[in-house]
């Protein structure tokens, strides 16, 4: 699905990713955990194509194509989706119109005709139900005046609508109460399939009670320093990140 090799990236001359490696196969769920400032969100931004970051070295192959050569929109059309840590409010752009345009663009890229209006509306209705998003929110401006939980649910709603092959969830759990967390995780679980992969970036183990990962990676100082299964997440929850930092520094 995606193969990230020796990825180096910096912002304003400061290197954040320092030789990041990860292989994700179809259908797998990988969690990336780590202390603040370890480069988790930078990784998400670089993969989605944010231009503020400069990739200085490395290679990323997504569905057999060179991801780093693609514009952000082409990455999305190829099936990459980023659920933002801080979804952007866009007053005046209706959620529904924007999604309709997005779906049309993706279908056009794949050589498919636009969805019929009734099929689109049915899709909206089904996916809204899936993330328990109120109909009125879908008709409002993108994220405008949404609560934190509504914004995150809207991200998952968009993900459900766009049906990506690889979804990156950037701290989708931050700031969510337990009910919202269950709804968001429930939405993700319904979308899990043998041909869809997830990279779940989180600071806390709690989310992984609901979205059970196949692998857990610990990121520190721009690299993956430890890989395990869901038990590693539990260990991190009880022991914190300091021992990882220590281990890493000793290894150097």
């Amino acid at each position: 699905m995606i193969s990230i090799k020796n990825l180096h990236a910096s912002i304003d001359g400061k290197e954040i990713l320092k030789g990041f490696n990860l292989e994700v196969n179809a259908g797998e769920v990988h969690a990336i955990m780590g202390p603040n400032g370890s480069g988790k969100s930078t990784l998400a931004s670089v993969l989605a194509g944010r231009e503020d970051y400069e990739v200085t070295d490395g290679k990323v192959v997504f569905n057999n194509k060179d991801l780093l050569e693609m514009s952000p929109e082409d990455r999305a059309r190829e099936g990459l989706f980023l659920a933002f840590q801080y979804p952007v409010e866009i007053p005046g752009v209706s959620n529904i119109n924007f999604l309709k345009t997005a779906i049309t663009e993706i279908r056009q890229y794949k050589g498919l005709p636009p969805l019929e209006a009734k099929d689109f509306l049915k899709l909206v209705k089904d996916k809204q139900a899936m993330v328990e998003l109120q109909g009125s929110l879908a008709n409002r401006s993108v994220n405008e005046g949404f609560s934190g939980g509504e914004k995150k649910r809207n991200e998952i709603f968009q993900m459900a609508m766009l049906e990506p092959s690889l979804a990156i969830l950037d701290e989708t759990d931050s700031g969510l109460d337990i009910d919202a967390l269950r709804i968001v995780a429930g939405g993700v679980n319904k979308l899990r399939s043998s041909n869809r992969s997830f990279i779940v970036i989180t600071h806390y183990q709690r989310l992984l009670d609901y979205i059970v990962p196949d692998f857990v990676h610990v990121m520190y100082n721009g690299q993956i320093v430890k890989t395990g299964t869901k038990e590693l997440a539990l260990e991190l929850e009880s022991k914190g990140y300091d021992w990882i930092k220590k281990e890493t520094e000793q290894a150097i």
């Binding site: 999305a76 933002f84 952007v88 663009e105 993706i106």
Partner: protein
């Protein structure tokens, strides 16, 4: 072009006035008013950069050596009136070409059985009492050279008089088609009078033929809104990019009256809007909205003045600009709250988006408040397209162009949504959408 010729043109205006003044519409009192206006114009001359009110819009750059004060005969046969009608079918249409009414193409007869609508020239004879009573009265206190010049010399334009209690449902769309040669200077002057409890919706649509050269269009609109009357007054300024357009709208509101205006500016090379609202009764409500989308070297200057003279009135202003290339914009909004105007609510907002490094926006909000129990606010912001929003949309598969268009449309829609005539609103939406493509 240098400043030396500005006095020369001022003099040529005065000479022309002497020649034609006896034949201008109105009685001897109106002629006196015209003569005074001409004297004030000559005393002031065309405004230069040194004039505080024209600081960013000095006329040094736009005045030519010679100006033609007479308008030429309109080549009406080359104009496709039906196409203009079909763009907004829900309105009754009136057509002017180079400032002259084209009566046979207009719906004057359909309108006339309900209200008074006629040219200024006819008004001076057929409705002399009304004409002589109102002409120029709203301009006297407005010390602006262009408005004075127009008031002195104007012989074209419309009298629209809505008698007491009459409600005109269909909007009246006045189409101004410029087809003039270089250096023509045409001036129209409308009198719009809504008597007690009357209601009327007026749209002014300014277009010019693509082949048309640079010309000057200097217009004054006097709007009198009596007690409990309503006027919606919308303008679409869409002349070609060589035209110089100066527009003064002078509004006088009486008790419990309502005024709503929306000015969409996308055309002309150099454009100045003066919008002066006098709230002269209790419980008046007034809404001023404007959107400008500029490109190339366009220059657009919106000057507003809302004069709260009486208590319990509300005024609201929203002006937005999208400036591309080397476009320059000005917003100067003044709110004046007199000592008696307690319980005033007056709000003003100017928001602008610069799309290039060479675009410029000058904003100057001015509040002068002499009453002590009022709510007034103003805000002004000028920025660029939101990069985070742009990336967000692109990460959802929208091309950069499409994302940009969507964001610009979202920015503009706030002003367009305030248009209170549904058919006209969708007409404007279509035009704006084409501008973004």
């Amino acid at each position: 072009m240098n400043n030396v010729s500005v006095p020369h043109i001022t003099q040529s205006a005065a000479d022309h006035f002497r020649l034609v003044s006896a034949s201008l519409p109105g009685d001897s009192k109106v002629l006196e008013l015209r003569t005074n206006a001409m004297e004030r114009f000559v005393a002031k001359g065309f405004p230069l950069k040194s004039d505080e009110e024209y600081k960013y819009s000095g006329t040094e750059k736009i005045l030519k050596d010679e100006i033609l004060w007479t308008t030429e005969i309109a080549p009406e046969r080359v104009i496709d009136f039906d196409t203009i009608r079909n763009l907004h079918k829900d309105a009754l249409h009136v057509f002017f070409v180079n400032g002259e009414l084209i009566e046979q193409a207009s719906d004057i007869n359909a309108l006339q059985n309900k209200l008074v609508i006629c040219t200024l020239k006819n008004a001076a004879y057929d409705h002399a009492e009304v004409f002589n009573k109102y002409y120029g009265k709203n301009v006297v206190g407005f010390d602006d050279a262009f408005a004075q010049l127009n008031t002195a010399m104007a012989c074209n334009g419309l009298l629209i008089h809505v008698p007491e209690g009459l409600i005109i449902e269909k909007p009246i769309q006045i189409n101004h088609i410029g087809y003039a040669n270089n250096q023509s200077f045409y001036q129209q002057h409308h009198l719009i009078i809504a008597d007690k409890g009357a209601s009327v919706n007026i749209i002014e649509n300014y277009i010019s033929n693509d082949q048309s050269d640079a010309y000057f269009n200097n217009q004054v609109n006097e709007i009198f809104i009596a007690e409990n009357a309503q006027v919606k007054y919308y303008q679409l300024q869409n002349e070609n990019k060589q035209v110089v357009h100066i527009n003064a709208t002078q509004v006088h509101q009486e008790q419990s009256s309502y005024f709503d205006t929306n000015t969409i500016t996308i055309g002309s090379a150099w454009l100045r809007n003066n919008l002066n609202i006098k709230l002269n009764g209790l419980h008046c409500e007034t809404h001023l909205n404007g959107l400008q989308i500029l490109s190339g070297q366009q220059h657009v200057d919106n000057h507003t003045l809302v004069d709260h003279q009486m208590p319990h009135c509300n005024s609201n202003q929203l002006y937005k600009g999208i400036l591309k290339d080397k476009g320059t914009g000005v917003f100067n909004g003044k709110i004046f709250v007199r000592r008696d105007a307690q319980k005033t609510n007056a709000y003003q907002s100017s928001k602008n988006m610069l799309m290039s490094d060479d675009a410029t926006m000058n904003t100057k909000p001015q509040l002068e408040i002499y009453a002590d129990d009022v709510k007034c606010s103003h805000g002004s912001s000028t920025g660029q397209i939101d990069k985070n929003a742009l990336f967000y949309l692109r990460s959802r598969a929208l091309s950069e162009d499409k994302a940009r268009t969507l964001l610009l449309h979202a920015f503009a829609i706030e002003v367009i949504e305030k248009i209170n005539i549904a058919s006209y609103r969708s007409y404007i939406e279509n035009i704006i959408e084409q501008r973004f493509e």
